[in-house]
Amino acid sequence: MVKKRTPTPSHTVGPFFPARFFGEGDYDLTFVDDPAKRAQGQKIYIGGNIYEAERVPRWNCMVEIWQPDAGGCFNHPNDPRHSHADPNFMGWGRRSSDDAGWYDFVTVKPGGYTDPLTGFRRAPHIDVAIMSSGLMRRLVTTLFFPDEPANAEDPVFNAIPEADVRERLILKPAKLEGAPADATAYRLDIVLQGDGETPFFVD
């Protein structure tokens, strides 16, 4: 018999997460470790500001994302379709918000999928985790795409009953300076607290 253990308590990441831990390729999900081998799918660029209370831009926030590949698969044994996953796509990225509070990622548009556990139809989406000094636990949320009919059915999107609040999780098409020429660019600001606060989920 195995002994049941309780997870180690979470703590804040603090202000001193080493700068050298952010690798050049960590914010670009369109390749894993060989830039010559590119992930399949439509290249997208996502950027936005992170704000703390009173709309003060928050620098030095650690942002991580996790998403399925363009075909809606994860390279993970919990996904019954994992053998179909794109070998040149890992689905994970990490970025620190810069001095102006700006975060960004280059990735591919995720595919939707039918959840094997619940049978729910998931719309294309990207999971996001925010870690920062002051946050004893990480904050988690999910980003969705505009003009996706599947959003209407998505169980996570619809876990937020207020239409104007869940709207805050929809990426907005935008012209963004840092976007690669061949990428569709979207903006999504993340408000940790206050007016227009981003909805977060129970972790």
């Binding site: 894993v32 470790d33 209370a53 993970h76």
Partner: protein
């Protein structure tokens, strides 16, 4: 790598409170609205399994920079196992850690107001993979305490090491800190004591390894197991 296939909600008293009255950043950055409940789907129970392809590992020795001179301070050996909630080892998982130098200063631009000296022979950060038993090990220097000055309550952070842990799913991602046993500053630390449950706080304090049980005689040994969320048991209907 075997994989946990479901996750439960955290046991609340074993996790820290979110708002700490005298820790100003916790008041400015925590959402004012409670989080929404959502169903857990495939995206949450999967995560990156080959992170070493993105994140370079093998950085286990923090006591020197590029095989140069030894950093100042007391040499420590920190080891332990990464386990899931069933006590099973989590193998091949990336563990990152970072800490202040012996004088209590970080090699980081955000630590600019700290009058404590830098140590040119100490970067204070390392990264490794867990082995087949889920074990990690680092050679380092005992971190110094440092003051947190810009708060309603000024206080000293006790010596501690920060850990960043991935596990096998996006829900098992964990950021935590390890404390040292017998440190008087532990009792007054606002962050350690934000964990309401005494057993939870004990889980953050490493155990001293008696010298006779340690293979090396040049470092004080500490054992510290880390537990991430996740079970391997199959839930009903999966």
């Amino acid at each position: 790598m075997t994989t946990p296939n479901f996750f439960e909600a955290y046991d609340e008293p074993s996790q820290p409170v979110i708002r700490i009255a005298q820790y100003r950043e916790s008041l400015l950055r925590s959402p004012s609205r409670p989080p929404y409940k959502r169903p857990v789907t495939l995206t949450e129970i999967t995560g990156p399994l080959n992170l070493a392809r993105k994140l370079k590992t093998g950085m286990n020795d923090l006591s020197r920079v590029n095989n140069g001179a030894r950093a100042m301070g007391q040499l420590i050996w920190v080891t332990g196992r990464l386990l899931d909630e069933d006590g099973m080892p989590v193998r091949g998982s990336v563990i990152e850690l970072w800490q202040a130098n012996a004088a209590g200063r970080y090699a980081h631009k955000a630590d600019s107001q700290n009058p404590a000296p830098h140590d040119p022979n100490f970067l204070g950060s390392g990264r490794c993979l867990t082995d087949q038993e889920g074990r990690y090990a680092f050679l380092s220097i005992k971190p110094g305490a440092y003051p947190v000055p810009n708060h309603a309550a000024r206080w000293w952070r006790p010596p501690h090491i920060h850990f960043s842990i991935f596990g096998e799913g996006f829900m098992s991602r964990l950021i935590t800190q390890m404390y040292f046993p017998g440190e008087p500053l532990n009792a007054a630390d606002l962050l350690l004591n934000a964990v309401p449950d005494e057993k939870g706080r004990e889980r953050l304090v490493a155990k001293w390894i008696p010298m006779m049980q340690l293979e090396r005689a040049d470092a004080v040994g500490f054992e510290h197991d880390l537990v991430v969320r996740g079970h391997r048991a199959t839930p009903m209907g999966f």
